[in-house]
Symmetry: C2
Subunit: 430 residues, 2 copies
């Protein structure tokens, strides 16, 4: 992509109404723009990051055999009456009347709708276990939306729902989902901790939050120091240890009743990025989602629900990975892997070399943003640092004349002047 | 994908409330299920088709240098007040009040929002032409939603918006968009005709509808028979001819004032699948979207908007491509390219051969649905015809013992018994 043709506006000034680093950087790097309170436009670079996260989430869910569906953003209220959540959900749920005065809600979650699908089609234990998931926009009418997409009103969420014939099988599925979550966060390249959590209004007796460790996080995680020695590789051994070790979100942690001695206790700041629940037959009973069991008897299914905040994750990643110059994208989700800086458009050899590099990288389907704008070198350096692409290929007249470029790693800051052949050897096949 | 683990429910009976073939087949093949009036759940196979169409649309829009963004589903009403469309839009626009009694609308289109983005960032003619597009869920509160996703209320649309410095440049962009549309429909493999259309409430003086030719279409297309000799390849010559030849939607066509003699006139039935408009400075003037022109003067930009009905296209493709047994997917959008039928699970060689074929196709990333369910051969034949995958690989005991399979082309109905080696040679690399 050539920047001159790309809609990727950057802003120098720190926006006055943005308090946290991720919100400031998302506005300044041109990832989002505010539409109105708690609702954001996604500009091209932001949308690319969102899609990259979506793809990783989908691939790991699909690999585990979960089935992707899509629930409309609007849902009829009768499903919510049936589950007895209509009155309880309060003002966070956006309630709408259509032209015929029929009430709809903008889904804040989809336990009801997915249970509705399940009960229409699934009649036998033989079809279980089943996990249905979706990635869809949700709306929660936060009383004070803040921190950009971190606590917005319209947000993108992956929500999954499991159906099992027994509590035991359902707990097994719960563990399976945990493994996919661990795999997702590992692929993104961020430290995410699964921590025991309160079940809240969804109910049930087993719940974990996943938090991205970040000093600027809103939540505090309390945990046994043994946790620090765990390598979270998603193996069963690993998961057994994880389930046995003390951990708690701040809502759940109580210093007095904490089961481990204080000298074993550690805490960290984090940003909630996922939340999973086992709630048994809570919805299947009220909504009559039953299947035939092995003995031929109708039995209410055992369920859990599993969320990942996809749009929120864009902000959380930035909170965990930025410096004073801007965003530092992990390669897994970066909008482009490479930024190519032409420091002097008017210099023939420089521009010729840039065009060559751009063509070679494109040919091998490497994602590359070529800064071919008529800006000075200073503006290009600071914009490129701001948008945080993993690798910068810097081409100026002096190096270009010797067929050399400067390669900079955004994360480490390391720079090296290398030959163009060296560049191709390092990153390209052909 | 193994069907036994895949959520892909089929229905034998023709659903009573579905009048048109596409609606019936989408329900029966398990692509969608109704949530409430005009709103549909997307089940796994339906979602795959939707995504395939999205991908083709995105690739062709990106290739043309258009920039993808995402506008939230909900929009603040003040933008619509500003453009003077708030009162005029009527009851099709879903109006919502949030917890603070601020009014929002569920976007039926996004001229206002995209113009809002444009005017914040783009200040100079040097950044033009610019086309911003998105693929996002929209809502139109149809008084009588019908025909499934063909005329639903919550629907997925590609909507693009162009910004140019002059009328001449804007008309050039309009042509460029037409070319991308022709390319999109060609890739999907369907005959789509661009036809002169009424500009309607969006305004302006230049508009085309794109219609998929289908006998069951709701619209009638009137055109000069010279149209039938045009090869729509998206070249400039081609486009010049197209623009010169008489064509009109039924709203626009008037027998008395028609500019060509009746013996030259032809008509066909079609389904509207895209609509493009040039409307000049209509919104840029009222919404103050101005840029500096070459002489340093502020000038309102010239715009057009360009829609493709993505969810509607799933239904339109089925209308244009089905038979008495079910759907006949074009390869470009099929949920899987191959269906593998195991006619006798209990027969060891049959199942072994199926597993081998499945593994080989998966290894080369061919999309294949393996019907490993414990159903009889008859049910498998009719289900596979119903869901309409382009190629069926049928494995029964007799052929399996000779290391042979039957290959069936869903569209032509041609069948041939071939060796497994022949199968691999035909479809696989290695």
């Amino acid at each position: 992509m050539k920047w001159s043709k790309y809609f990727s506006p950057t802003i120098k000034e720190i926006p006055a109404d943005a308090q946290v680093a991720s919100h400031q950087l998302m506005l300044r790097a041109g990832l989002i723009a505010q539409e109105c309170a708690g609702i954001y436009y996604w500009l091209p670079q932001g949308l690319k990051v969102l899609r990259n996260i979506m793809r990783i989430v989908q691939e790991e869910q699909d690999k585990a055999g979960f089935n992707e569906i899509l629930i409309p953003t609007l849902q009829p209220t009768d499903l919510w009456q049936e589950s007895n959540r209509y009155d309880g959900y309060g003002k966070e749920m956006l309630r709408i009347k259509d032209r015929h005065d029929r009430e709809l809600i903008y889904g804040p979650t989809a336990e009801e709708a997915v249970t509705d699908i399940f009960r229409r089609y699934v009649k036998s234990y033989k079809d279980l276990p089943m996990v249905l998931y979706q990635i869809q926009w949700k709306f929660r009418d936060e009383i004070r939306p803040r921190f950009g997409v971190m606590r917005g009103r319209e947000f993108l969420m992956k929500d999954g729902y499991s159906f099992d014939i027994s509590e035991e099988a359902a707990r097994e599925t719960y563990r399976k989902v945990m493994k996919t979550y661990i795999a997702i966060f590992q692929r993104i390249g961020l430290q995410a901790m699964p921590v025991r959590a309160d079940t809240g209004p969804i109910g049930g007796d087993l719940s974990h939050e996943f938090l991205i460790v970040a000093e600027t996080g809103e939540s505090t995680i309390y945990y046994d120091k043994a946790f620090d020695d765990l390598k979270l590789d998603g193996s069963d051994d690993d998961l057994d240890k994880l389930m046995a070790i003390y951990s708690a979100t701040d809502e759940l942690h109580d210093a007095e009743s904490c089961s481990i001695p204080i000298e074993q206790l550690r805490y960290k700041k984090g940003i909630e990025i996922g939340h999973i629940f086992y709630f048994g037959d809570k919805y299947s009973k009220t909504m009559n989602a039953k299947v035939m069991d092995e003995s031929g008897k109708l039995s209410a299914v055992y369920s859990g629900s599993y969320g990942i905040g996809v749009s929120r994750m864009v902000a959380a990643i930035i909170e965990a990975s930025h410096d004073e110059h801007g965003i530092v994208w992990p390669e897994s989700v970066a909008p482009f892997q490479f930024g190519l800086l032409n420091l002097k458009i008017a210099h023939e050899q420089t521009t010729k070399l840039c065009e060559d590099i751009y063509a070679c990288f494109q040919k091998e389907n490497k994602t590359i943003l070529y800064d071919d704008r008529k800006e000075g070198a200073g503006a290009k350096f600071s914009d490129m640092d701001l948008i945080g692409l993993p690798w910068q290929i810097i081409v100026g007249p002096k190096n270009a004349e010797e067929n050399k470029v400067e390669l900079k790693n955004r994360k480490t800051g390391e720079r090296a002047v290398i030959s163009v052949e060296g560049l191709y050897e390092r990153f390209l096949q052909g």
